[in-house]
Symmetry: C2
Subunit: 284 residues, 2 copies
Amino acid sequence: MTIRKVAILGVGLIGGSLAAALKRAGTAAQVVGYTPGDDAQVARALGHIDSASASVAEAVSGAAFVVLAAPVPTLPALLAEARPHLDAQAIITDCASTKRSVVEAARQALGDAFLRFVPGHPIAGSERSGPQAANPDLFRDKRWLLCPLDSTPTQHVEAVSRLLEPTGARIDLLDAQLHDRIFAEVSHWPHAVAFAMAAAIAGGELADRAIEFSGAGLRDTSRIAASSPTLWADIMLDNREACLASAARFRERGEAIIAALEAGDRDALVEIFGAASRWRSRLA
Amino acid sequence: MTIRKVAILGVGLIGGSLAAALKRAGTAAQVVGYTPGDDAQVARALGHIDSASASVAEAVSGAAFVVLAAPVPTLPALLAEARPHLDAQAIITDCASTKRSVVEAARQALGDAFLRFVPGHPIAGSERSGPQAANPDLFRDKRWLLCPLDSTPTQHVEAVSRLLEPTGARIDLLDAQLHDRIFAEVSHWPHAVAFAMAAAIAGGELADRAIEFSGAGLRDTSRIAASSPTLWADIMLDNREACLASAARFRERGEAIIAALEAGDRDALVEIFGAASRWRSRLA
């Protein structure tokens, strides 16, 4: 069955890629996008969406699905703006990297429609951003997590799962609070570490030499430090508590390495590196 | 002109790959390998070398080139063992990731032959190790740095450059002391950071969940944490002073990020992340 209209609020890398996947599959009669800036026009020009809406109201009117794919700090205002124009049956989902704060914002903003809100998080991305970086295969064989509340009717979760089918992503369910702790550990804090490493090199006297002599190791280790500074500042602040818990564990291991180096304690280094190496070897 | 014999002391990933490149090119009549353990037999079985020597003495006897490709801490003893059996014209080079300590060890061990020692460092590697991971294209289009001393005759540097031609590496010259500072910054300390990150996750209560939910970001950022713990402990201890200088800069940026997160200071985060992102974007 064809979906009549999908509204995507935010059509950068994530929203644009979802739109492109829906357009290619032809599962929705109309895919519209809204952004406050120029991204929607660019996404339109690239063919990711059928039309760029002039307002949130225009975008969500008559839409069977409303997908929030804008930066985390903008979501409360977007939800409030969308609320009065939502179709009575519209199902709302989001793509934010953090889930607890979005759930709270939706609870505040959506009223009765909160029952039709299915929090989501596609586990895909790139250090690139914007609609130019979007592609319909971004989510293929990646996970797309849905974090419904106990009160969320199963049929709405299933509806979002069907909507996402053309992306080729694997849909999995996860508790929102556990989600935020896990992603602080595997994504948010690792971004902070990569930023810290690149910033330290950038601020040192060997910054230019480091560009010249970097190998695959530094290239991989620092890749995500090319990510959007504002996007990641907002994600980490939004998930601050869990990020600080991950930071504390990281700091403790980093200080142990420095202490072992200072003391010339080879056994201590080998023990820390060994624990790291054994764990990392489990990552396919 | 065909080289009569090349002796490679240590035929793991690096030595095995060099041997395989020489064998494939046919520029040496004989490529022999020596290791105290089984690696040389494995390298022989894989066809990387013509024969596995039973001793350092046997390996280096009559060799026009002696290449040290064994772990850093073993190099002083290897050099001392090789010394009495070196051909009077033999040119010696090494592949260690640090240069100052190897130069000192060679100065101590080699006597007159120190003039024929050309310190080297191929900028290629893998988180894998051992002769099984070796391949003749490991160095293709990568840099191979040579760090001759002021006293090293140019003809010996040129001879090593010609020896390495079949690897497809680009030969560049670099001062040994500057080399060690640069590589602390772009390789040694980044390995410590990756080890610290993986060890922190491995030691946390989400270690298993992190395996399940990791994306490309963590995979890339932690890739080099799968590297050999003893190899990297030895490299960092060998280049301790420079590593601690890199560590200090990194710690300062990491602590600034934690402080900004604690204070909810978005501007401070964006500034640090921005400096990181601008620098990283210069890495092709």
